[in-house]
Amino acid sequence: MAPARPTDPRVAAGVIALAAITLLIGGALAGLLVEGAHDFSGAWAAFDAYLLRVVRFTLWQASLSTLLSVVPALFVARALSRHPRFLGRGSILRLFAVPLALPAIVAALGILALYGRAGYFAGLFSTIGGQGWPGIYGLSGILVAHVFFNLPLATRLFLEALQTIPADQWRLASQLGMAAPPAFRLIEWPTLRAALPGVAGLVFMLCITSFTIVLTLGGGPAATTLEVGIYQALRFDFDPARAVALTMLQIAVTFIVVLALTRLGANVVGDTNLPVAPRRYLSVNGTEAVFNAGLIMLALLFVVGPMAATVAAGLGADLGRLAGEATVRQATFTSAVLAFLSALLSVMLSLALTMARRALALSRRAGARTLLEHATDTGAGFVLVVPPIVIGAGWFLLLRHAGDVFAIAPVMVVTVNAVMAMPFALRAVRPAYDAASERHERLCAQLGISGWARLRLVDWPSLRRPLATAFAFAMALSLGDLGVIALFGSDSVQTLPYLLLARMGSYRTADAAGLALLLGLVCLALVLAADWLGREKARNV
């Protein structure tokens, strides 16, 4: 006999969340299909030489960026792991986490402020080169920006991998008198090689879907990726057929990459954990120590440079006048409200999926997982295949017949950014919820604690901190995002990144630098808060 159990409200919440995500992505795909069917020959004709060039450049810049980020990161991570304790090591690792928090547009401005035609290094480079420094635009700019973001990320991931090497192996190595080269070959390299496909895949994925960097630093049709191509087709050329073709290609490319990554067992969401150094038993000789120190110093300078330039250029702006400007105030307010709502939605969706997944797993016991449980488990992963610009483009095409596309900007920004932040929010919420459920599930069932009482007495106290972490991180992501708003933004709805882009476009560089400093600091504060909240884990019995 099948006992009648009351339906778990947690499952219902998960179904609602899944339906909302499906609506968002499905609506976008519907928009693309309708447009493609409406003008099939146009969409087909859009597959021309230009498109081919765009695809080639997208893959080429992503490959180069990956190579330039990952290979140096291997050695920087090794250098850091060889010296588990030196003054400032913790600070360096914390600095390496900052690019993850920094909005891409802020980093792009920092890089321009440093290496641009009028940047701090322009004079030096002109002297060395013997002619006027053209500034880094195009491929070189894109590569520098991508390495700025991904070298520190890859370094941290490799370092994490290196720290999983058991201390006993190091004890053994030092007892056997193993020098650095054999230690690398026999101990470090096998671990790094195991982590390599995952890390390289993650970086490749991030570079292939990078929009803001290419938009702001690409500077021309020669250096355009699929995502920027979609944006230009919709905002400038108004060529829906081309947009459809580009979008379909983007989905195909990301789908293939994600598929390959899952095969490799890669983790497609960047991590914010700070690795702690375990006790090590190894001796490093003088030459190697100098080499390592030099390597770490170079990486540090490369990462700190654009940040310092952002601060210096920002302080050079007329911050007082900016703060008084009505447009700036309006954009700040809009950004804050939209990011708040987006973070709230993101956390609610993530919690709903987490609770439903857990409830379904608990009621299943043995046997195969149902389709629904699968969906609650990996549902958020679909957003990786369908980047924000693609969702935005789909809805843009769908709604342009229905009236003023720009009027729905706030809804698009809130929903798309909420879904985009879900992989990160889920990583904060799910382990905490599952662990709490592990401890409390039987007790709650036994004592009859359910529904609202359970949320108030049991779940909220144990999830408060992870939820706050997820919220702060989602808010930082949404606040700094220049994806959907680039498509839907207008004079009536501007966020800070959108305003920043506008000021850059009209060559008001000082204004842009001031806004970048403001935006960067707010996002950094939010991510630091997220990190701090996540670190103080609730102690359990």
Partner: protein, 258 residues
């Protein structure tokens, strides 16, 4: 609620041709537990002891057959609706709630407590030797004290059946004896039906009146503790507790990892 010295007397617990399976493992129980007595449930790891308790508590539902408590078929009832309290090996308390709140949940799952409830809670805490620790958090208590809090909650819940799933397995020998004596004393006052899963023969001898011995997912033998430990138990039981049963029984046979 007839609280107080008499409490609610225990009722019989019966598993009527209950079958249960998870994965490849098949379990079949057909057994009756005497009302108002302490029955020790023993058996090798994987013999189904915890599953049997989970079936009675409602955490697992039988594939076929019926779970009867006091004659009523509760097979389909959710855990909270059964006249049963259970104490687990660990995680009996909510880490973020204080002792008084953890006990109070036994009276109201939404922690809406009347003055009378609070008086009962204070009484239960005093009875289990926790007076003065009302506002402590679980992490500020020792392992033994945490299990005392769980017993205090059993007292305020006042259900006629108590299930103990190796609740004292991670305590030291002297502390465990104290806790067993507390269970025996509480049982003397309330006369609830107690099902007590344990790996320790001396636990069973100390407070158990009956023994149900499980082997391979089914009930291999039942009888009084006296008979079992006098050597009248089945061969499997003698092999389980080891050679020279009754005299030099090792404390650590097949001790579940905690």
């Amino acid at each position: 609620m007839s609280d107080g010295a008499m409490g609610r007397r225990g009722v019989p617990v019966r598993l009527d041709k209950v079958s249960f399976s998870y994965g490849e493992v098949q379990l079949a129980f057909d057994v009756q537990f005497a009302a108002a007595e302490i029955t020790a449930i023993m058996g090798p790891s994987g013999s189904g002891k915890s599953t049997l308790l989970n079936l009675v508590a409602g955490f697992e539902t039988p594939g076929s057959g019926h779970v009867l408590i006091g004659g009523a078929d509760v097979s389909a009832a959710p855990p909270a609706a059964r006249p049963v309290s259970m104490v687990f090996q660990e995680n009996n308390l909510f880490a973020h709630l204080c002792v008084e709140q953890n006990v109070g949940l036994g009276r109201s799952p939404s922690l809406r407590l009347t003055e009378a409830d609070r008086a009962d809670i204070a009484g239960a805490l005093a009875r289990t030797g926790l007076a003065g620790k009302e506002n402590r958090l679980p992490r500020e208590l020792s392992g033994g004290e945490r299990q005392r809090v769980a017993l205090a909650r059993v007292l305020v819940r006042d259900r006629p059946v108590l299930l103990l799933d190796e609740p004292f397995a991670s305590l030291g020998p002297a502390l465990r004896d104290d806790m067993l004596d507390l269970v025996a004393a509480v049982h003397d006052e309330r006369r609830m039906t107690v099902l007590f899963v344990t790996h320790q023969p001396e636990d069973a001898r100390r407070i158990g009146r009956n023994v149900v011995f499980l082997d391979n997912g089914t009930v291999a033998a039942t009888g009084t503790a006296d008979d079992f430990f006098a050597g009248a138990g089945p061969d499997a039981f003698r092999r389980y507790i080891g050679a020279g049963a009754g005299n030099a029984v090792s404390r650590d046979i097949a001790r579940k990892r905690t």
